[in-house]
Subunit: 195 residues, 2 copies
DNA sequence: GCGCTACTTGACACCATGTCAAGTGCAAGC
DNA sequence: GCTTGCACTTGACATGGTGTCAAGTAGCGC
């Protein structure tokens, strides 16, 4: 599948990414993607059986190109829980900005399509693990506020970091990427760190 | 329009509400609504020119039936900023639960439809006003943390209170309505109130 | 009985996704 | 040089939901 015709397949993935960045989400049709990739609409279906598969593959492609694993290293290597929390938020603010177009398309599809839903949920559960790891570290440091358990704090931070919340704060409140990171870090510290 | 045939129109609005509660959002088709209301699909179009109009009218109908204005009185009459904040969050947690089905449908439509988008945004901007009013009161009480301006605090609380965040915390994290209210109040106090 | 109104019935256009079948062009292997 | 296979093209078609159109019907006030 991926080795058979990497060229065209990659062209499709790149075209999808590009178009979704330009007009995030729903507006992008299979025929738009085909035209942008310079091939016929049907050729897209030779590589991806359905729209949802293309979307899922595109998110994987994007992650790979952006080297998510590499950029997560500083988060994992943080010395303290607070540092880990700050770095996770900083990474995430930066990352969401880059994946937003594709993320929004997948998110829209999630409402109706089971495959899209589970692909999305799987990715988000990785973020959730990142949040939990922060609070486990914070607990070890004896810096987790008594008001929160690891679980409830994880839920809350995970919700704060949702793509929808990022979308609202940047698109509707006009926050810059820096505003987002700075204020989320502030709120997280005020909320979860023992005073 | 509303005086011409209140009976059928109301039957349609009630059927829409009911169906959207049962299976929130997208899955509800015009023909489902017609069947549930006991009329033909075309009769629905006699009352609502398009799906989006029906959705918007349904949210208005729901607000009216739930007496939103009346239930907001305690929020407005709060003695202190902190009390106002707690009451706003309590009202909202309770309210979102009731409107969630219709809200989700409108939210899904917002992605593609300009009329749905502006109807939704208008409602959400009322929530935003509620948030701002909280922080103006808190500022008057000299209890707004130095870390936040009225504007940035408004943005942040508004984002925390988004329907999507409520959805994530209740549906995916399994929070009860009480959990939601209690923890949101806690986070808001920790974040925005001067220590 | 007349005419108005609300509603029904059934056909149809539209648009995006996804399927199917036949055809083309190119390159590797004999 | 010819065949075989593969990636892709072309064009037609099914599906499902929204929205439109036109003709017909049932009930009600006059």
């Amino acid at each position: 599948m991926s080795s058979a015709s990497p060229d065209t397949r990659t062209k499709i993935l790149q075209a999808t990414w590009r178009l979704m960045e330009q007009q995030p989400g729903q507006g992008v049709r299979m025929s738009d993607i085909a035209r942008a990739a310079g091939i016929s609409r049907q050729a897209v279906y030779l590589h991806f059986p359905a729209r949802v598969d293309l979307l899922i593959s595109t998110t994987q492609y994007v992650d790979q190109v952006l080297d998510v694993d590499g950029r997560l290293a500083p988060v994992r290597n943080a010395a303290t829980g607070i540092e880990q929390m700050d770095r996770l938020i900083a990474f995430w603010g930066d990352h969401v900005e880059k994946i937003y177009g594709v993320a929004r398309a997948l998110l829209a599809m999630r409402e109706t399509d089971a495959a899209a839903a589970s692909a999305w949920d799987e990715r988000m559960s990785a973020v959730r693990d990142g949040c939990r790891s922060v609070f486990e570290a914070l607990l070890r440091d004896r810096q987790l506020s008594d008001d929160w358990s690891v679980e409830t704090a994880t839920d809350m931070l995970w919700a704060m970091l949702s793509v929808r919340t990022w979308e609202q704060l940047t698109a509707e409140c006009g926050w810059s990427a820096d505003d987002y990171v700075e204020r989320m870090q502030l709120q997280a510290r005020l909320t979860f760190v023992k005073v």
